[in-house]
């Protein structure tokens, strides 16, 4: 798929630098490869189809740039250290093991869909001297700048600000040090805050600054219109893509290797969808992921037009649900 086509995929890409900016960055860092990055944590509830959305997108972006002759380094970060931060000490070891599972999952995706994503674990570099040094440098810059420190505070939920302040906001600085020298960072829109701070700091240490590319938010399946009506703000933020248990909604997610296809079809049938493109459309989202999967399996380079077809009325809501139910089973669930 051509870069422009990929970046303008309706229903998949929410905000992106334009193709010229990405090419400029690739030229700027040449002969080094342009670093494309997606990072995620995880939980005990399993690997979501929504993670595959990000993996396949990073892979497609890498392929599109390679076709134009650029060197590319597509990286998936499994943030095991970050995942362990929210669990008790007793669960720490279990979560590190779950990190192994997530790494294997990305490797499986590489095998099934012929992608070449490089998997990195946060634990591999977090204590390395180069990373600690980079983090120290960032901390010093922020501590000397009250506005930046205010921004850092905002990355922490209000209830945890005091604890984090005692820890010197170490976790937030780990995140920023991880992303500060990336080229293109793919993620959900809710990561905008970290990305913005990283760009502000990058200006001070004269690095290039990351380009953020946000895919559309993730929504639960099988929920009626009343659920979406009652959850104000869900349109902007959705639920956490890579954590199946986000908001305790794991029964409303497609979990690879666990979800029964018939159950998922029923969830799809029961899902709220609207022909208003500004409203959440969880079915279309799964449909686009399945379409990305199909295209890789069938080596089909054509653009993804499922959202265009749906919102222009070429496909009715019922047809969309039927198609997506079949495709998610065939091109995703049965492949694992």
């Amino acid at each position: 798929m051509r870069l422009e086509q990929l970046l303008s995929t309706r229903g998949l890409v929410q905000q992106t630098p334009n193709a010229y900016e990405i090419r400029d960055r690739a030229r700027l860092v040449s002969p080094q490869p342009i670093k494309l990055f997606y990072g995620e944590t995880y939980d005990e509830k399993g690997d979501t189809i929504d993670s595959i959305k990000y993996y396949l997108f990073v892979a497609e972006l890498a392929d599109a740039l390679r076709e134009e002759g650029f060197k590319v380094d597509p990286v998936i970060l499994v943030a095991d250290i970050a995942a362990c931060r929210n669990v008790t000490i007793e669960l720490h070891n279990r979560y590190m093991v779950l990190g192994n599972d997530r790494v294997r999952f990305v490797e499986q995706v590489n095998e099934v869909y012929g992608t070449d994503l490089r998997v990195v674990r946060m634990s591999e570099y977090i204590d390395s001297s180069w990373f600690v040094q980079k983090r120290e440098e960032i901390m010093q810059i922020c501590e000397a700048d009250s506005i930046l420190m205010e921004c850092i505070e905002k990355t922490v939920p209000e209830s945890k600000v005091d604890i984090e302040r005692k820890n010197g906001f170490l976790y937030s600085f780990d995140e920023i040090a991880t992303i500060i020298d990336l080229d293109v960072k793919v993620g959900p829109p809710r990561e905008d805050l970290y990305d913005t701070i990283a760009r502000l700091i990058a200006e001070k240490i004269v690095t290039n600054g990351i380009r953020s590319l946000f895919l559309t938010p993730t929504f639960p399946l099988g929920m009626n219109w009343a659920y979406f009506f009652a959850n104000e703000g869900i349109e902007e933020h959705g639920i956490t893509a890579y954590k199946a248990g986000s908001k305790q909604l794991h029964r409303h997610r497609v979990i690879i290797g666990r979800s029964n296809p018939d159950y998922i079809k029923q969830l799809i049938t029961d899902s709220f969808i609207s022909i208003d493109s500004s409203l959440p459309n969880p079915v279309l989202d799964v449909g686009i992921i399945s379409e990305m999967a199909r295209k890789r399996l069938e080596h089909d380079p054509s653009p993804i037009i499922l959202a265009d077809d749906f919102y222009s009325g070429k496909i009715t809501p019922d047809e969309l649900k039927d198609t997506v139910g079949e495709n998610v089973e065939k091109y995703v669930l049965l492949k694992f």
Partner: protein, 388 residues
């Protein structure tokens, strides 16, 4: 010369009136957003975006705000039991101001609600709007209830009661009143300096009976606690707060509310009300009376056609415009035609009159049959649970 002077005089009057009407529009447009802010209610736009088939009044922003509609939406979407309460005071026949509320109730019934309609003839009497309880009962049974039935409510999901003829409501009023005290009621309703002049019946009505009506569907005999929606004008928000307070203490579901804009009076002096008969089209008005009221109605237009063509009218404060759009049609450019000066009041009134008269003819033709069916709609369930 005299003609020229007369023309100038008329233009001056038109200018002055136009300024007054535009000022009124500013006030009218600001009123409801201010109330939303004041009471912490939410606009209904979000509901309209998500509901598969929202009511016309919601789409048009006439039912403009809500409190806690989320719990109702959940019941609506999941086919769980829920109820709607909307009472009215039988001081005379229903008018178009009532009709707009009942239009929304019909839609709510289509969405699955059981509709409870208390006819508050006790209030009518204690506040002095009826000479006797007997008169208020006559109005309820002869004028109000048949009109409600003629609007098309389903008997199996409609529960009408006249307060004085449904004494169980007073037992419930006693039950809920023990969760309140006089200070709280006076604080909410602000009887103020005249409170000593209020009769005890009024205070019991406001602090007991009104809340009993709102909470009635949640008593055991009606299936127990359930989401309950109250359809009221925004000025009645304090009742909702009191009812929510009592509901919490009784382990009931907190009542929700939707708020509807007031219908504008045809006399241009405020809201449509039975207390100013010329302000209202009553559903029992004969055709000639209704036509005359509309022909002579205050409008948002100018006193001379040339002025209106040039400066346009002010539809937001025009009762004819609101009757047309609240009751009969989506805006479809009516406001734009008015404010741009393309349409004048004469043609607008003509369209409005045709719509109103057609409705009245149809409605009044249904009344004889409706009168025969009153018993199908009357609530007679005895509430014994609080007496055990």
């Amino acid at each position: 010369m005299a003609d020229e002077e007369r023309r100038k005089e008329l233009e001056q009057i038109a200018n002055e009136q136009h300024d007054v009407k535009r000022s009124a529009r500013v006030k009218e447009l600001a009123y409801y957003p201010e109330k939303i802010k004041e009471f912490g209610a939410k606009p209904t736009e979000r509901f309209v975006r998500y509901h598969p088939n929202p009511s016309r009044l919601m789409r048009m922003g006439i039912t403009f705000a809500h409190k806690d509609l989320e719990s109702i939406a959940d019941a609506m979407a999941s086919n769980k039991p829920w109820a709607v309460v909307s009472g009215l005071n039988p001081s005379g026949s229903l008018h178009f101001g009532h009709k707009q509320v009942f239009d929304d109730l019909l839609w709510l019934q289509e969405q699955g609600a059981d509709i409870y309609i208390p006819i508050t003839n006790d209030e009518t009497y204690v506040v002095g709007k009826a000479q006797s309880l007997a008169e208020s009962r006559r109005i309820a049974y002869e004028l109000v209830i048949p009109s409600i039935i003629a609007m098309g409510f389903k008997p199996e999901k409609t529960h009408i009661f006249v307060d004085s003829d449904y004494p169980d409501i007073y037992n419930i009023a006693m039950d809920v009143s023990k969760y309140l005290n006089l200070n709280r009621i006076l604080g909410v309703f602000g009887f103020g300096k005249d409170e000593e002049g209020e009769n005890p019946g009024t205070i019991f009505y406001r602090g007991g009976v009104q809340l009993a009506q709102i909470l009635l569907p949640q008593y055991e005999e009606f299936g127990g606690p359930k989401p309950t929606l109250v359809s009221v004008g925004i000025d009645q928000y304090p009742y909702i707060l009191l009812a929510r307070d009592v509901a919490r203490r009784k382990d009931f579901v907190n009542p929700s509310a939707i708020f509807t804009k007031f219908a504008l009076g045809l006399d241009g002096k405020g809201k449509m009300t039975s207390s100013r008969p010329e302000s209202a089209i009553f559903l029992t008005d004969d055709i000639k009376t209704a036509e005359k009221k509309l022909k002579t109605a205050y409008t948002g237009g100018g006193v001379i056609a040339s002025f209106q063509k040039e400066h346009g009218g002010v539809p937001e404060i025009c009762p004819v415009y609101t009757i047309r759009t609240y009751h009969f049609e989506e805006d479809n450019g009516v406001a734009e035609d008015c404010s741009s000066g393309r349409a004048l009041c004469g043609s607008c009134k003509k369209d409005g009159i045709a719509q109103v008269l057609a409705y009245l003819e149809d409605h009044q033709a249904k009344l004889p049959e409706a009168r025969k069916r009153i018993n199908e709609y009357l609530l007679n369930t005895q509430v014994r649970s609080i007496l055990r």
